[in-house]
């Protein structure tokens, strides 16, 4: 991306997603249906790319979010940590239409963080003595066993931010941050969908959650569905 850190603001979702190609590995931020880049997710289906490898914690749920990619038949492989009640993925996994690689959630995040930080592999205690260890190198440090996990890169990351400036400095909202910073660092190209675009300088440098060098395209989307996956409340 040498010299690409200018004119990042895309006029439309279509324009923002122009670099997508068939067969790409795409990371998508969000935890279940929370904090999803909703317009970019819809835009990928509209763009008509196919044969994608999708990296996401959950791959949608309740037929919404990334489950729409499964409906559209554009995903060949999913790398995720949790399927739960996502029947759209269960049926396609059972039929063999979609290959599924399940990774512990912390390992998934760290594989991205490592990729973004130039670390090709790392030792972790998570998964030792379980199915996750299968086929992986183990090593003992200070009397405790660890297994070797590889960094995970992507062609594109799609993330949702609360606010961005024109350089792409991002702020997130509450638990909407989740995997977005690690994904943005692990992808060759990061496209951010933000609720509000502000001028450079409007975000105090000390308040930036994700520095703009990790973000290459920005698109402002003011309206979001923001669905509740499990709406739990208490009485007054």
């Amino acid at each position: 991306m040498i010299g690409k850190h200018k004119d990042k603001v895309a006029p439309s979702i279509e324009a923002a997603l122009e670099p997508l190609r068939d067969g790409m590995t795409i990371m998508v931020g969000g935890f279940g249906l929370s904090g999803n880049p909703e317009a970019l997710i819809r835009g990928v289906v509209a763009r008509g790319v196919r044969g994608l490898t999708l990296v996401s914690n959950n791959a949608g749920n309740l037929g919404k979010g990334l489950a729409t990619w499964l409906h559209a038949g554009i995903v060949k492989k999913v790398i995720c940590s949790y399927i739960g009640n996502n029947d759209d993925l269960h049926t396609r996994m059972a039929s063999g239409e979609v290959e599924v690689e399940i990774t512990p959630q912390g390992t998934l995040a760290e594989r991205m963080r490592a990729a973004g930080a130039g670390i090709p592999a790392f030792y972790t205690p998570t998964g030792v003595g379980t199915i996750v260890e299968k086929g992986k190198e183990t090593r003992v440090f200070d009397g405790k066993t660890y297994l070797l996990e590889r960094a995970l890169r992507a062609d594109v990351a799609l993330v949702r931010g609360r606010k961005a400036d024109h350089f792409g400095n991002l702020r997130f909202w509450r638990t909407g941050r989740n995997f977005a910073p690690a994904m943005a660092s692990a992808a060759a190209l990061t496209i951010a969908e933000v609720d509000e675009l502000v001028p450079n300088g409007a975000i105090d440098p000390d308040d930036v959650h994700l520095p703009g060098l990790y973000v290459h395209r920005i698109v402002e989307v003011r309206e979001h569905e923001n669905p509740f996956e499990y709406r739990t409340v208490r009485k007054r």
Binding site: G106, T107, E110, E229, Y230
Partner: protein, 207 residues
């Protein structure tokens, strides 16, 4: 008499020292929060939240403020939000004092199985393996046996493992037990529950 779910939650809450950082798993363990005095401990949720508060009042729910079970929650004064890599670094790095998790099977050597049933639908691993191997102390809340009467406290787990040798204490409707060296040591029994009845429902020595 056996412990009700509420009794189990109250008993689990007693495992939490003042000022502790605690992660409560999905299911039974979420009840524990109801028995913690205000300001007693800080709740961590692995999707990126420390200082988790109760469910929001109706009308105040925020779709981007959720717990790891994807339920809407609140954040208390002094709380913070952060990204997933940081959140799991907290777990792996030993900064979570205690996790209270559900289980399908626990072995008498402290092995935990809580993410998959053989031949069943694969729900996924989520944060279970990271929490089980990363937290400083692991307490399990579970039913003592299945509805069909099959043992869940066993000599060796037959379900896919989450982590080996990690469970310090098990709280069931029959009592509180510490798996150690191939036996479940009785810490306490629920009122009116006999040691013999526990032995009959446990697939490993009870001492």
């Amino acid at each position: 008499m056996t412990f009700s779910k509420e009794d189990m939650a109250r008993r689990a809450a007693a495992e939490i020292p003042e000022g502790a950082i605690v992660n409560l798993g999905i299911g039974l363990p979420t009840l524990v929060a109801d028995y913690l005095p205000e300001g007693h401990a800080w709740l961590h949720s692995e999707n990126g939240l420390l200082g988790m508060g109760p469910f929001p009042y109706e009308g105040e729910e925020d779709p981007q403020l959720i717990n790891a079970g994807k339920q809407t929650v609140t954040v208390l004064p002094g709380g913070s939000t952060f990204d997933s890599a940081t959140s799991f670094a907290m777990i792996r790095g030993g900064h979570i004092d205690l996790a209270i998790l559900g289980a399908m099977q626990v072995s008498a050597t402290g092995d935990l199985a809580n993410w998959a049933v053989p031949g069943g639908k694969v729900m996924g691993i989520g944060g279970a393996m990271d929490l089980a191997s990363g937290c400083r102390r692991l307490v399990v809340m579970m039913q003592h046996a299945t509805k069909e009467g099959e043992h869940k406290l066993v000599a060796a787990c037959t379900y896919p493992l989450t982590a080996r040798g990690v469970v310090a204490r098990v709280i069931t409707e029959l009592g509180v037990f510490d798996p150690k060296d191939g036996a479940f040591r009785v810490v306490e029994l629920a009122p009116g529950v006999s040691l013999d009845s526990v032995r009959a429902k446990t697939g490993a020595p009870v001492a």
